[in-house]
Symmetry: D2
Subunit: 383 residues, 4 copies
């Protein structure tokens, strides 16, 4: 079983992550991780901060001579803007001037609930960790998971399928097309929709408003038999739903046909089973999961992301010190973070599948794990 913990404030010294449980001797390509971090930072509609960040991973432990040791991997992404935040975020016990204390909660953020739960007067003590900045480390963690999955030929892609009211045509998308999503500044596979979306983002920015959207994540070549039906907390779809819903801004998750399947008749939904040398389906409405177990088809997940809560023209709120109404202050200038979220979601799925692979195939070195996998695949093909 894999474990990870992350830490780090948005404007602190940096983000830290520790992963435990990976097999030894797995090849790790550091540049691949940096490239995934870069993919997260792109996207039309992001604000200025993305330029400052240029995230880079620093490996502290667990990897030697390009390979995992089997011991925990510790990683840091330093905050390149730290110099400007050193005083305000100081670890030492200094007294901050009153005007530096954030007392105005922003609707749609965890500011109000977090400040009350943790008994903070300064909302910064919440917003720094609640920020989606944290997802940079989740991408780093997922980039390691992706490299484990690669050893089993499992690949994960994503694309944006709606921003605001602009829908993207998504029928018959194949892997080759999905590989192209990064070429679009909004990660959509339909040139016309792309143009409409960019226009929509520009228009929304002018209004001082923000946009949400939908994205889809697809995992290819997932073996039959990950997850389990035996108890609720071992179901693969449940684990995926938790992972995705834990992504900042996500308010809805569906697997395969999802909400649409609720409107259809049974005969229109379930994927009939055929056999020719191996079992196959002509449809994949189940999104690759039946009874909480991967069924050998691609795993397909769609997520709904609400618009960014930090608006240019802010919303009504109440100062927590004075209890007086004010208009919420804005912290960032992003209009739309859906393309970036789709990248993070790839890494969330990568982590979940890597963990399942580890549980099912055991082993402490990548060769042991792959031997176990290969024989299982032989067995599957014999059924």
């Amino acid at each position: 079983m894999l474990k990870f913990l992350t830490a780090g404030e948005s404007h602190g010294k940096g983000l830290v992550g520790i992963i435990e449980g990976l097999p030894a001797n797995l090849n790790i390509d550091i540049e691949f991780i940096n490239n995934e971090l870069k993919r997260r930072q792109k996207g039309y509609g992001r604000g200025k901060r993305m330029d400052i960040e240029r995230d880079k991973i620093e490996i502290i432990s667990g990897i030697r001579n390009g390979k995992t040791l089997g011991s925990p991997i510790a990683m840091i992404i330093k905050n390149r803007d730290w110099e400007n935040w050193k005083e305000i975020m100081d670890v030492e016990n200094i007294r901050l001037p009153k005007e530096k204390i954030v007392t105005r909660p922003r609707p749609g953020h965890g500011d109000l609930a977090g400040a009350i739960k943790y008994n903070h007067k300064d909302i910064r003590n919440i917003l720094e960790r609640a920020s989606a900045r944290e997802t940079a480390m989740r991408v780093a963690v997922g980039s390691i998971a992706k490299q484990l999955l690669k050893a089993f030929d499992i690949e994960i892609y994503s694309h944006v399928i709606q921003i605001g009211k602009v829908k993207v045509e998504t029928k018959n998308i194949n892997k080759e097309q999905l590989e192209m999503a990064d070429r679009s500044p909004v990660r959509v596979l339909d040139k016309q929709a792309e143009n409409q979306i960019i226009t929509e983002i520009d228009k929304t920015k002018e209004k001082g408003d923000t946009l949400g959207g939908l994205f889809e994540v697809v995992a290819y070549n997932v073996p039959i038999g990950l997850g389990s039906h035996v108890n609720w907390d071992r179901k693969l779809d449940g684990k995926i739903a938790q992972g995705m819903m834990s992504l900042q801004g996500v308010k809805g998750v569906e697997i395969g046909m999802g909400f649409e399947s609720a409107r259809r008749l049974g005969s229109e939904v379930h994927d009939e089973i055929y056999y020719e040398n191996q079992y196959y389906r002509k449809t994949n409405n189940a999104g690759g999961i039946e009874a909480g177990i991967s069924n050998g088809n691609n795993i397909i997940v769609k997520c709904a992301m609400k618009p960014i809560p930090s608006l240019g023209s802010p919303l009504n709120s109440v100062d927590m010190e004075t209890k007086k109404a004010f208009e919420a202050q804005k912290e960032r200038a992003d209009v739309c973070a859906v393309p970036s979220a789709s990248i993070v979601a790839e890494h969330i799925l990568a982590w979940i599948l890597a963990n399942e692979i580890t549980i099912k195939f055991g082993g402490d070195s990548i060769s042991e794990m792959k031997d176990n996998y290969n024989r299982y695949i032989d067995y599957v093909n014999s059924r």
Copy 2:
């Protein structure tokens, strides 16, 4: 922290559950549990088995003189139909006649994936546990959780908001109306929609087809501050999504405005903050959760359930022994289980909230826990 495990096959001797971590001295009403079990068994569109079952809980441990001891609670729901299944499900090593072995996987079920994962020739070894029969014990577990929540005035309701293509009007539903949902055979709060749904179920049954739908679960009086933003696996919405997606047939989950929020502008989505003696909102599009923390508003969850996969006019499939095509056999005659699923979902949410209450307020007896809670509420009111 609470823990539970359940066990039991659909046609085995019974279902068993163990709960650990409840405070001592909590009053437990056994009849309340039995009534919740009964609520799960009702619903227009269910097959004959519901009549046989008449589930009844038997408490084996952890409760004495009507109160929790603090020790684990073990519960059994005996299968009243066991006599008819004794041989086929025998624990002892007997040899079953070949015709009793299930080799034909049903599309939409875990039959194929499960039989391969666990290396079973007899699909019954999978379907018995994958069956939604298991949710009876989840309801029993949740009925204990509900009784803990009651000590904190937290109440949970549900209703069905769509079956097949028939939508139910859901605007401005209040708690008093939700209490009425049980009076409807399909658990909807709109008489006209109820009639349409019943007609739809009858029609679909004649066709040998099945129906899915949507339901909504609402938790009232949840205190601000359950869950946490600090790491992904402590987010309340993530935990709820996992719980709901682990329910048989659920393919989509949304919190608050959910997928609709992806289409809206930020200014239309986020719930502005006001203050008059206490903080309040005029809207609840967030569904009571911001940044993974409960914000004091009602928690609102919607789920999409696919149609039941066991059809009267079955789908194409392949016999796992002969590899020959056949039409999938049917196991049950339910047309629609959405009303029943909505009841189970109440109990899933109850469990998750009870667990959060236990984590936040600590304590080993209900009086200690409530003292901690009461003072926290005083503090919240002082902010």
Copy 3:
């Protein structure tokens, strides 16, 4: 990874256990479980209750036709004395007569600390679960674990090596001798010591006093590589120490040479490494574990058990209601439970090793798991 939960009061309806995570298709011999339960109940120096109990396991789920399904195994051991306790332990809310309420805590038991922690007036609410009666279910759980281990030729034995001040010679004990321990009423392998111990027990009984002792548990044929050095909570010796110390009455645990190794020079302690076709040692002072990893030698654990706290001539204590001094009441008439504890300890170790086997070798069916194991053993032999 394996999980289990147990439940049940000493004089309640029965004990319940659920195990999750076992591979499918493992042969389960029910009589083997019953025999292990019987072994726990024997031992010179036990009181009358052992005669009443005659524990028998009832399997409710997870096993069909003599084989595991892969789904959770639920088990019950009914309390044969339940009729006599029905009223006093009633689940329903009845009012007990005052004289039935236990208010006098026994030194050495959890009575005082438990009653305060859980806010109970009636100490019975604590002592019923704190009782070593609970270990009957741990033996049942361990008997399933032993059957998994058997598939990997791992065997676990135990014997008593000291009772009170009488020490048993333990040098050069081999597996064949350990198999004989059950023939001794006090589970010792030295006839002379056996006689002395029996005399000691009789004498102590007359005095109304009790005895503790030491026992040793040995696991044979454990493969190299269980546990891990990478973090504290994955170390095999740490897990074993937790398991053993959690056994009622155990106050000390040592691995291999244990406390004696603290007195010796390094050159006298560490097991030198040799090679002839495979690596081997001439000594096993490490008790089969180095750096938290099994090293291929037998795993050897010794535990110290304090005397039973329920004395015939009771100790001073204070009534929790009146605060007046009294002599503690006695609950049972056992003089010495060390032989019984050694049996339970076998099953604790069996569980821990079964869990490690499951983590290392993965797999969802016993054939998949064994294939993975066999190839790993081939690899080990090639190093």
Copy 4:
């Protein structure tokens, strides 16, 4: 519930730790942490490396203006010797010269078992993480835990009670004396024994041999009611045993009277209960824990540490590449690490108790947690 993960190789860039679950607004004194790290590095009988290290903690996240945020705390201890190890420990995929590859496993270390388990040719890939260097981060983690405990007046001390064959008189040691242990270079409270031990260490060093020993850890002012009897994995003594046995070199753990209690009669072991305004005992043979629950007395743990396995005059072993016998190489020149281990053990116990405090009292800020604690203490005093 608290969580932590650590990472880091002995000669890598540094050690990293992440702690999650602490309440907000707890005062953290960084210098206290550094001082605890210094305490770990002292002790007569340590080699040269201790001079190089001079460990210093760097806080990356989770603490701001001297207080915890409630978000995860990330910490780093940089390796001051990193420049000399940069090439040999390089993260990048370089090719090491053959003579830099460690192929000779040291008896008593995890070298052989680890290299086989993780399929490493270079034993350095194991020894770097198995090294007790890792305990520096455990001390840092424990130093945070100690600061939480301080808010509840819980204090933890340790002293060495035996090195090799030299025993230290330990009767009637009180807290004031324990505070003095740091003044002794071998952390003993008996001047005569101190001199004998120093002589013993010098003599053993000349012989090229090593020494183990015993140490005792005591926690003061632990409230009644931590841990639980309800299931094996919630017992406080079990958790302590796991923590201690996971410390490098520890082969035995006992609580209170420990192994000695196995030799005594019941009437000599159990701590009688008295009352005068509150419950008290005249003895503490139980070491503060009955039935897995703290009983209000001091918690007393003793551990046996084997001699350091890296000897000056090395032991016989076999080269894993050539399979030829050789004398094991030595990695370090410490003769005795018992004083240092006793410091680490304080921090292990601190962590376990901090976790229990968090579970029992809940709360998300230190004021909430303390309010809950204070009222519980009032309640305890009323029983």
